[in-house]
Structure formats: structure tokens, C-alpha cells
């Protein structure tokens, strides 16, 4: 199989992965075959409808859910908004959402916009104590509990399937960081995923709503193929996203083992070779492909810039690199160092030589930046 690979040195798959090779031909073919309105009864319309139905079935099959539980949205963020707020709207108990302090900003913004939040703290490794969520769920007016499958910044996998909630309090799980890479947990009423994080095209989110869930659209309705979504379907992209998802699920055992080992190398080498560094997140029960660490006395923006100059693309949760100029709420909730922060996430084709090159370059760069301030 040929196809696009990550640019050399791009160690930021958690922000976005390049299109999976299995999706490229599907996308190109579907651009020609799937342009028409899938609601029309004419031949091109039926063709587009067929592709859309195929995408839904392939996605359901890859995720182990029913096809009528799958909705395609214009982004993972929109899937989160729809999924979470739809459960709130469907609740008979109230509009309070009990959620962890380390949820993605999409969850936090949704709660701020259309619900009332009750936040539960995390351990130093970013793990959410289930007992506190369960305790919080009992309170009156709690309509929904929200817990991510895994944390997008530090990789810690949450024990979503172990949650024991009252029967009338549904669980929303943000699965954007893990969808395709890890099997979905049990116990949720609605879930969300994002295709560009598994190697599908951008502009495709996946909303899953369980057949028996009380879900009501929180936004204006539309008259499209799927009553849960609005706007004209992006048939070529959802088909490519489904093809990528199938491929990722098929190869995940091998890819996850390789990526888990590469991240272990980074965790070990960084902790050993960089003085005054904090490698955070659960070292074992984590996403296979990402790791976060923070370097004392280092300006995060300077570190990102210097690494980029040497050909390494990495993300940072430090305040100076954020549009909001506030530190990552995830690192803050964990009580770990927020400055000098690096989030490294390996791509599907990242090699041991790539991560060794990064680990070789890092100590000198950190020392150089510290030397600028005399430390």
C-alpha cells in the first residue's frame, strides 16, 4: 500500500494524523461517485446514499455498535456538543453534568453553554476516581455524567466501563483521543470520536447514541438522512473516515504494541537524560501513542520553536503556547508542572530511530534554554 506518511519529525499525531493509506483511494473515488444529495431518488443521489450507508455500516462494524447508533458530524467537537447536550436535553432529572476536571475543552464549553457543571478532581496521574463521579451522580438535578475514555494530553486511560451510575443518569464518553486505537468501553449512552485523530480526513466526527438512550437534539433540527445530524452530508469524507477506521482497528494490535514501546523509550530516556523533568500521566494504563512531560525553568514556546528548528513537531500545554494564555487545565488539575511542557505523540510510521533522534536532541536544547536565564 502506498500513500501519505507523516512528515519526517512530525511527533504530533494526537493533534492530527495524516490520511491513512487505506483511506486515500477511497476518498478519491468517492469524490467522483458521492457528490450528489443522498436524499434524492435519482441515480446519482442513490449512489451517494449507498456510499453513506456503507460508511455507517463499516463504522458500526469497526466500533462494535449498531449502524443506526452512528451519526456523522462535521467534527469531533460537534459530536461532543451534540452527544452531551442531547443527553442533557433528554434527561428527566435535570441539567447538571458531573464531569472530570480533565475533560477536553469541547466538553467544558458544552457544559458552560447549555448545562450546569459539577467538577470532580483527578489523581496526580490524571485518573478520575470513579467513586467521586458516582457520588456526584446521586445528587438531585444531575442529568448526565461525562467521563473521557482516555485523556488527550497525558494519555491516562479512564476506567469508564467500571462506573456504576443510577439507571436514570446516562453516561457521555468523549472517545476522541482513543477511537479506533482502543476498543470502546461499555456503559455509555452517547459517545463521540474524531476522524482526523485516527487517520481519516478532517471534518468528520462520529456521534454514537445508544438505541435506548433518552437523547433529544439540543440544536435546531434539519431534514437530512440522519435525524441526529444537520447540514449536507460530506459523503466522500465519511466514507474515507470509515475506511481509515476499519484499517486502524485491523492493525491496532501490532501498531499499539509498537507505539507503546516507542513511548516507553521516550518516557525512560527523558526521565533519565534531562535533569529536573517531570514525565506525567499513567506509565502503563495509557494511550499507546502519546506522552507528556514538563521541564523546569523552560519556556514552553521556546522549546517548541527550538525543536521545530531541528525538525521535530511537538505540541505543548504550557500557557505561553496557548491561545488563552492560561496553562493546560489538565496539567493544572493534576497539580503537575505546567511550564516547559511537551506533548509528544508518535505517528503510525514513526520509528525507533525517530524517537531516539528526538531524545538525543532534547537534553542539549533544554540546557541551552535554561542557560539563557542563567540556570
Amino acid at each position: 500500500m502506498t500513500g501519505p506518511v507523516a512528515r519526517e519529525g512530525d511527533l504530533d499525531s494526537a493533534s492530527s494524523a495524516p490520511l491513512h493509506p487505506a483511506a486515500r483511494d477511497v476518498l478519491l473515488a468517492a469524490l467522483d461517485r458521492g457528490y450528489a444529495d443522498p436524499r434524492r431518488l435519482h441515480r446519482p443521489g442513490r449512489e451517494a446514499r449507498l456510499l453513506l450507508d456503507n460508511a455507517r455500516e463499516a463504522t458500526a462494524d469497526a466500533l462494535g455498535v449498531r449502524p443506526d447508533e452512528v451519526t456523522f458530524t462535521p467534527s469531533g467537537t460537534h459530536a461532543v456538543h451534540l452527544g452531551l447536550l442531547g443527553l442533557v436535553r433528554g434527561s428527566r432529572r435535570g441539567d447538571v453534568v458531573v464531569h472530570s476536571a480533565v475533560e477536553h475543552s469541547a466538553v467544558r464549553h458544552a457544559v458552560a453553554w447549555g448545562a450546569r457543571g459539577a467538577e470532580v478532581g483527578v489523581t496526580g496521574e490524571g485518573r478520575v476516581p470513579l467513586g467521586e463521579l458516582e457520588q456526584g451522580a446521586i445528587a438531585p438535578e444531575v442529568g448526565v455524567v461525562a467521563l473521557q475514555t482516555a485523556n488527550h494530553e497525558v494519555g491516562t486511560v479512564q476506567d469508564v466501563g467500571g462506573l456504576d451510575l443510577p439507571d436514570d443518569v446516562p453516561l457521555f464518553t468523549d472517545a476522541c483521543a482513543s477511537m479506533g486505537r482502543l476498543p470502546l468501553p461499555d456503559g455509555w449512552a452517547a459517545a463521540a470520536g474524531s476522524a482526523h485523530k485516527w487517520g481519516g480526513p478532517a471534518g468528520v466526527g462520529v456521534l454514537l447514541v445508544r438505541k435506548r438512550a433518552r437523547w433529544r437534539s439540543p440544536f435546531p433540527a434539519d431534514d437530512r438522512v440522519d435525524e441526529r445530524s444537520t447540514g449536507f452530508e460530506n459523503v466522500p469524507s465519511v466514507l474515507a473516515a470509515a475506511a481509515a477506521l476499519q484499517a486502524v482497528v485491523a492493525e491496532r494490535e501490532e501498531v499499539n504494541a509498537r507505539q507503546h514501546a516507542l513511548v516507553d523509550v521516550v518516557r525512560r530516556r527523558v526521565a533519565k537524560e534531562v535533569p529536573d523533568v517531570e514525565v506525567v500521566g499513567d506509565p502503563d494504563r495509557r494511550l499507546p501513542h502519546l506522552v507528556t512531560f514538563s521541564c523546569l525553568y523552560v519556556d514552553g514556546e521556546a522549546l517548541v520553536t527550538e525543536l521545530d528548528r531541528r525538525g521535530f513537531g511537538i505540541a505543548s500545554g504550557s500557557a505561553c503556547t496557548a491561545s488563552t494564555l492560561t496553562p493546560s487545565h489538565v496539567l493544572e488539575a493534576m497539580g503537575v508542572l505546567t511550564h516547559g511542557n511537551v506533548r509528544l505523540s508518535v505517528q503510525r510510521d514513526t520509528t525507533r530511530a525517530d524517537v531516539d533522534a528526538f531524545c538525543d536532541a532534547l537534553p542539549g536544547l533544554v540546557a541551552e534554554i535554561r542557560a539563557r536565564v542563567g540556570l
Binding site: 517531570e278 504550557s318 500557557a319 496553562p327 497539580g335 508542572l337 505546567t338 511550564h339 536565564v373 540556570l375
Partner: protein, 80 residues
Amino acid sequence: MTAYDVALELDCRDLPCPMPVIELARHLGDVEVGRLLAVVAHDPAAAVDVPAWCRMKGQDYVGADTAADGAPRHVVRRLS
């Protein structure tokens, strides 16, 4: 209100992250072991990073209060 009697207060009000923590490291040696050192900073990262620095460097994070002008102040006890 100032709640702690500190031996040295560092004015980092206008300094961006991570300068308040860098100033803390630079001036730790200016107070005797057992005495309090405070850093005054508007930088929102300081509220997390000063306690994290204490944990990493084996110092004691005493707590936060506010300087006379209402600016957040983070207080550290030198242990070594």
C-alpha cells in the same frame, strides 16, 4: 491579605511564565533554612508551578495569600 510572615518577597507581578519560578530558584539561597520566601505573580501558571517546583526540589509549599495590592502571593519554606 498577607497571612504569612516572610523573610523575602519577590516581585514577579509583571513577569510571564516561567519567570516567577526561575526567580524563586535564583533567590532560594537568599533566605536561611526554615525561613519563608514568597513570590508575588499575576501569572496564572504560578499557582500550579510553585507547588510543583516545591515537590520537585524538596521544598515546602506553605500556601497562597495576597500581597498588599491584592496580587496573588505564593509562599515557600526553605527546607534545604
